[in-house]
């Protein structure tokens, strides 16, 4: 029994690695730009599905034959990056406050919902709703430690996810761009007055978010061996739960929240059955929103009122 629980905890942490990466993408846009970017689940899905299509059929318009798995993942990553920059161009760049009412903060959010519909349904049109298999040579390697099974790609994913978190923290803490980004989070107008070209820095956030989605998509494709157009809803939305649980705008909050959601998911599958996951994860989130709306690591300033 103990072994079983520990095994599920391990599985949960591994699943959580994907949530962590996507939740981090969410947290960057909401933390720095106060923009709840609902396209992120669909950018994640798009990157995965395009990687799958690149492996299966090759590049569009007959540019190449079917690609190797690593090249396909690269194509997926590039697609995620481009999609995210497109979102910046069309949703965030032009949306400045022009009339003041209580729902005006929602304009970029609503616009991102529009993009979500576009991305999801384009994927559905071009790739159908059926899962496409994604084959990679490292999918079957397993480690066995005293009765527990840890698969190599899972371990690798966790390592990648955590090193990305460290890298993003480093970028934000140390580099010049990071300092500019933190200044924008504090006060965009003052940042502009201090000589930071805010318009040119903002796309960096979206580029980072796009790359994070692409990496999460790659982790998913290698671990589960399949990609499908509904995975944005299934995986990405749980990353939202992880992000809110950890605290909006907090990087380590995304890590902890993502891992909690992953573990809660595997444990509830184990003990309550597969249908219970949705109720457990979102019930947990609702409870957290009632008891501590700012999340575990969040602070009040972000997401409350006009940044």
């Amino acid at each position: 029994m103990i072994v079983l629980i520990v095994q599920q905890l391990i599985n949960g942490v591994m699943l959580g690695a994907i949530y962590v990466t996507v939740a981090l993408a969410f947290n960057l846009t909401v933390g720095i730009l106060n923009f709840l970017n609902f396209t992120i689940p669909s950018v994640f899905m798009l990157a995965a599905v395009i990687a799958g299509a690149a492996e299966e059929r090759g590049l569009p318009f007959g540019l190449s034959g079917p690609l190797s798995w690593s090249a396909a993942l690269g194509v997926g990553l590039a697609a995620g990056l481009l999609a995210s920059l497109l979102v910046e161009r069309l949703t965030f760049r032009y949306l400045k406050t022009r009339y003041g009412d209580a729902t005006e903060h929602a304009i970029p959010l609503v616009s991102s919902l529009g993009f979500l519909l576009v991305f999801q349904n384009l994927a559905r049109l071009f790739f159908g709703t059926q899962p496409h298999s994604f084959t990679s040579p490292i999918a079957d390697a397993n480690l066995r430690v005293s009765g527990l099974i840890v698969s190599a790609p899972q371990l690798l994913s966790l390592a990648i996810a955590l090193s990305i978190v460290v890298a993003v923290t480093w970028i934000l803490r140390v580099t010049r761009i990071g300092r500019a980004l933190r200044a924008i989070a504090e006060n965009p107008d003052a940042t502009l007055l201090m000589g930071v070209d805010v318009k040119r820095i903002v796309p960096v956030v979206f580029a980072l978010a796009g790359v994070l989605c692409g990496v999460a998509a790659a982790i998913f494709a290698v671990n589960y061996g399949q990609v499908y157009s509904g995975m944005g809803d299934e995986i990405g939305n749980k990353a939202v739960a992880g992000m809110v649980l950890g605290g909006l705008g907090s990087i380590w909050g995304a890590v902890v929240g993502g891992l909690i959601v992953g573990v809660a998911e595997t444990l509830s599958i184990q003990f309550l059955g597969g249908d219970s996951v949705q109720a457990v994860v979102w019930g947990l989130l609702l409870l957290a929103l009632v008891l501590r709306p700012e999340g575990i690591f969040g602070h009040h300033a972000i997401g409350k009122g006009k940044l």
């Binding site: 909401v30 729902t103 519909l117 071009f126 790739f127 939202v240 109720a279 994860v281 979102w282």
Partner: protein, 303 residues
């Protein structure tokens, strides 16, 4: 009322009721991204009562309205603590939670769904939609309706002017829940089948978008939004299905189902948010229209 035209009218009526269900919370500054969940509560209430207890259509509908309202009342107290982005996330979490719970209740058919044997005609749905719209129109004329408008424009100033912001929000959210419950009950009896996939996150998004694109400043916005996004896809349906060759040439391998209409809605949303984020119908737009149509009545009556 039957046939293709009747079917479109019924869907239009349901969408109008749902649009007002979302409009009332949004009009008081609360973006509700969980509309489908409140509809699901109504639909399952009606379906369960009529199949398990042989309750007649009238009482079942009344109870489904009540159920939607009660759930919304309860939930509106929870979200009073949250604002802006958190509020949107809370409604989203709530709708995911509700569908997660419903799937686990065996008496409601779980993931299979629930068959409802009693059928109502489309006329009933149409009449209900007209009544619902009339109630919202009246509500917006009352002092309370004026208060919701004020809160939508600026909650802080409304508070300073002596409006009970919290209560107004609770009332607006609950009224929205009542209407969503009604739409759910009508859905159950008209389509005779209820399953949780019909009330997913995507339909909540869809609902919120057409209310926002129609405009949330006036009574007419949701009506225009719902009508536009029900009728235009129907008009385009024949045009799109006539072009499978074109679709194939573009590399479309999936089914040519309703996906394209969501693409149009999504693209339109992105464009509208850039050009006209306040929605198609605005207060100023309406008074200008009035001035253009009835120049003689200008300035005699405040809009």
């Amino acid at each position: 009322m039957s046939g293709y035209f009747g079917g479109v009218i019924v869907i239009l009526s349901l969408n109008v009721i749902l649009a007002y269900a979302i409009f009332l919370p949004v009009a008081s500054g609360q973006l509700n991204l969980g509309g489908a969940a409140f509809q699901a509560v109504g639909a399952y209430t009606a379906g369960f009562l009529s199949t398990s207890y042989d309750l007649a259509v009238g009482p079942s509908l009344a109870l489904s309205v009540l159920a939607g309202g009660l759930v919304a009342l309860f939930f509106s107290f929870i979200i009073l603590r949250t604002r802006s982005v958190y509020l949107v996330l809370a409604t989203f979490a709530f709708s995911e939670f509700v569908s997660g719970v419903i799937v686990n209740i065996d008496a409601l058919g779980g993931s299979v769904g629930l068959s409802v044997s009693t059928h109502i005609s489309g006329t009933v749905v149409l009449v209900a939609a007209v009544i619902a719209a009339a109630i919202v129109l009246l509500f917006m004329q009352t002092r309370l309706g004026l208060a919701t408008r004020a809160i939508h424009d600026d909650d802080l100033v409304s508070e300073l002017m002596g409006i009970g912001v919290r209560w107004t929000r609770v009332i607006a959210f609950t009224l929205g829940g009542l209407l969503a419950g009604l739409a759910g009950g009508l859905y159950a009896f008209y389509f005779n089948f209820v399953d949780i996939q019909s009330f997913d996150a995507a339909s909540s998004i869809y609902l919120l978008l057409f209310v926002l694109l129609g405009g949330t400043q006036t009574f007419w916005g949701p009506l225009v939004g719902a009508a536009f996004f029900t009728i235009v896809p129907e008009l385009l349906r024949s045009a799109i299905s006539a072009a499978p060759a074109l679709a194939h040439a573009l590399g479309v391998t999936g089914e040519l189902d309703s996906s394209w209409r969501f693409i149009i809605l999504g693209a339109l949303t992105v464009a509208m948010m850039i050009v006209r984020p306040e929605g198609a119908i605005t207060r100023i737009g309406l008074s200008r229209l009035q001035a253009a149509l009835f120049p003689s009545r200008l300035r005699k009556r405040p809009a």
